[in-house]
């Protein structure tokens, strides 16, 4: 393994963060805030560490698969460490653990927070907080590769490490084009949402921050009450639309815009994803209405926002769901498990895997009836290979094992069962809010420090698709 080559790519990660840190410092300076200096200092550190490897390493050789794995995983860890620096420098509620939690939650687009009063933070830090979502949404390495002009082989290796095999089935292009599509759709949607929110009467600052958080399916808000603060139907509608779009496969969004054969309308997974979400909204609305919580219009309004917010793993809130009936809470827990589609900015289990799981279960049932027959697993007109099917099943099992392990660990630390389970499920799914003490209007400040560390591990596992981290941990045995 060539350490210098890995360091060179990690340098690019530093430079990417430096750009956003310097923009955040600019936001602070514009608002004449004290946070300008911490942000500027962190930006300088990143700049120095980013430029340093470029001076020494002039190797243009391609990265191997193992090197690619190390670059991707350590790139994510590094960016999370960089992300915590401005919080640490600022102080206030940010202890070392809290800063790490907020940073990992930002970059993995989880959106869980330890802050009890978000509005106390200066604009520069709030912008940096939203930027972590935006950088992490499309993927740190994808951003780096978008800027890098050369290195076809390395680009191919890194793209296939960062994006899951399942997501790549809908990207029938070369790595360079995949990166362009991802970043293009991502930036385009962000600009479109900023304009839409501005037209709804939001301030430019709030519009940018909330757009970063929506398109990245993150969930960090600049307000303590999240989207409830604005109490605006038009704002909610705009955010719902963009949450849904961000939860779809970006390759299919591009296909739809470009008039390709692979598009949103032809994908059975998209149809199923939207159908399940609509069923969820209808059931939640009916239950809230018949329970007497709200009138029919408000029931539909709140239910649709919360279901879409959780189902796309965004995590914005317009109401405290902890006070909702148990049936609706269970429904939301289901959506927390399900997550959005592969190829989107969301993390966690992903709806496509559940779709394949049910298809595979149906195939197994058919095989029981016809033991000698050969059945192919198909999603639309595409065949899913045996290895991809097996990989999906193992992923689901590992996901459940990790989920329950974290719940048990948190319970051991005297966290109540509801909070422990929902905190575990919401962090591994990169959703954000849960129930109990970590509900949509609550925060994670009450979780013990060690518990917070386990939850950040969950977030990283959910974001990096488990296999990458496990492969890296056991890498020495393979090499």
């Amino acid at each position: 393994m060539r350490t210098d080559l890995i360091l060179k790519y990690l340098g690019y990660v530093f430079l990417l963060n430096a750009v956003f840190l310097l923009i955040s410092a600019g936001v602070s300076l514009y608002n004449t805030e004290e946070s300008a200096l911490p942000l500027l200092f962190c930006g300088i550190i990143c700049l120095v560490f980013g430029v340093f490897p470029m001076i020494f390493v002039d190797s243009r050789e391609a990265a191997t698969h193992i090197e690619g794995l190390v670059i991707v995983v350590s790139g994510w860890l590094l960016t999370c460490i960089i992300g915590m620096l401005p919080y640490l420098m600022w102080g206030g509620e940010f202890t070392v653990i809290n800063a790490w939690f907020e940073s990992v939650s930002g970059f993995t687009t989880t959106g869980s927070s330890i802050l009890t009063d978000v509005e106390k933070l200066p604009a520069g830090i709030l912008f940096w907080r939203s930027s972590t979502h935006w950088i992490g949404g499309v993927g740190v390495i994808i951003f780096v590769l978008f800027v890098l002009p050369r290195g076809r082989k390395t680009r191919h290796t890194l793209v296939h490490t960062e994006i899951s095999d399942l997501a790549m089935t809908d990207f029938q292009y070369r790595a360079k084009k995949v990166i362009r599509i991802l970043v293009g759709v991502y930036a385009g949607l962000t600009i479109l949402e900023i304009v839409s929110l501005k037209l709804c009467g939001m301030s430019m600052f709030d519009a940018v921050n909330h757009s970063f958080a929506t398109i990245a399916t993150g969930g960090f808000s600049t307000k303590n009450l999240s989207i409830a603060h604005f109490n605006s139907l038009s704002v909610e509608v705009v955010i719902i639309i963009f949450m849904v779009v961000s939860g779809l496969h970006f390759g299919l969004i591009f296909g739809t815009i470009a008039g390709k054969r692979e598009n949103l309308f032809r994908s059975p997974v998209v149809r199923a994803f939207l159908l399940v979400m609509i069923i969820g909204i209808v059931l939640a609305s009916l239950k809230l209405y018949y329970n007497g919580d709200y009138g029919i219009a408000d029931s539909f309004r709140y239910a649709s926002f919360q279901v879409v917010s959780v189902a796309t793993t965004t995590g914005f809130a317009t109401v405290d769901t902890a006070a909702w009936p148990a049936f609706v809470q269970l429904l939301l827990i289901y959506f927390t498990i399900q997550c959005a589609m592969v190829g989107s900015t969301s993390g966690g289990l992903k709806f496509d895997r559940i779709f394949i799981f049910f298809k595979s279960a149906a195939k197994q049932l058919r095989m029981v009836r016809h033991p000698n027959a050969v059945f192919a697993l198909k999603v639309g007109h595409k065949s899913i290979s045996e290895s991809l099917e097996r990989q999906t099943m193992i992923f689901i099992v590992l996901y459940i094992v990790i989920l329950f392990s974290t719940t048990i660990i948190l319970s051991f630390m005297d966290v109540d069962v509801t909070t422990a389970f929902s905190a575990s499920i919401t962090t591994i799914g990169n959703v954000g809010p849960g129930f109990g003490e970590v509900s949509s209007m609550g925060n994670f400040s009450s979780i013990p420090d060690l518990g917070k560390l386990f939850l950040t591990l969950n977030m990283l596992l959910g974001r990096l698709e488990i296999f990458n981290i496990i492969a890296l941990i056991f890498m020495r045995r393979d090499v």
Partner: protein, 254 residues
């Protein structure tokens, strides 16, 4: 890029990192020091002045009671000394208006004190009020309480502000320490990486050259130290290759 330039740039980056951290730390410490000064100047002075005013008011109140009891000499002496100390403290408060709404509170003190002073200044020369406790309770004491409340309000405003400032000071001192800590950690990591690069791009080529020279013997394959960089080591490898070929051609001719 030449090795000398690479190392120079590496150290320049390290130096710029440390300089940025140093400058930032100094700036934060200067701000902490300014905060301490403002804590003393802005609030503590007024709090002390308020305390003096309250003490003077209590003394004036005792003096008035002595007047009512007919102790003219002692009462008058106490009142005039308390009055001058009250006015002195009020002057300090008037010249130290640093908080929002402080000017209004100081004006209130002046207003109520004038009314209060009028109450005890005029009956001073007559014996009409002697033993008149009803007059004291219904008229003088009420005004005394009004002045006292105004002074207390001023003190509370400054105490609250001082508390907020002190809390901010704790955050600021942490902020002043953080750049130092981050810079130390960053410099350590930077040194390790620099050491790694020096080892990779300086020591490894030297070893490669040494190994290649040791294993080389006339007539064997081309001299190759396996240097891939485009720096002085590559030049050295090329020079050695040229030297060997010159020596070999000379030996062949001989």
């Amino acid at each position: 890029m030449k090795i000398r330039l690479k190392i120079l740039l590496g150290f320049l980056l390290l130096a710029s990192l440390l300089m940025a951290a140093g400058a930032y730390s100094i700036y934060e410490f200067v701000k902490v020091s300014r905060s301490v000064n403002s804590l003393i100047d802005d609030n503590y002075k007024t709090i002390e002045a308020s305390r003096t005013m309250l003490e003077a008011l209590e003394r004036e109140d005792s003096g008035i009671l002595l007047l009512i009891l007919g102790e003219w000499g002692v009462g008058h002496k106490i009142i005039s000394s308390a009055d001058s100390s009250f006015l002195g403290a009020k002057h300090i408060a008037e010249n130290n208006l640093t908080e929002e709404g402080e000017d209004l509170l100081v004006a209130h003190i002046g207003h109520y004190y004038t009314i209060y002073k009028n109450k005890w200044q005029h009956p001073n020369g007559s014996s009409l009020r002697q033993g008149n406790i009803v007059w004291y309770l219904s008229d003088v004491h009420q005004n005394f309480l009004a002045v006292k409340k105004a002074v207390n309000d001023l003190m509370e405003l400054n105490q609250t502000s001082m508390h907020t400032e002190a809390k901010g000071l704790s955050d600021r001192s942490k902020r002043a320490i953080m750049p130092g800590i981050v810079a130390i950690i960053a410099a350590l990591i930077f040194s390790f990486i620099l050491n790694f690069f020096i080892s990779s791009y300086l020591i490894r080529p030297i070893r490669g050259l040494s190994k290649a020279l040791k294993s080389y013997f006339p007539g064997s394959r081309d001299f190759d130290a396996g240097i891939k960089t485009k720096d002085e080591f590559k030049q050295l490898e090329t020079r050695i290759q040229e030297m060997i070929s010159r020596m070999e051609s000379k030996a062949n001719k001989g």
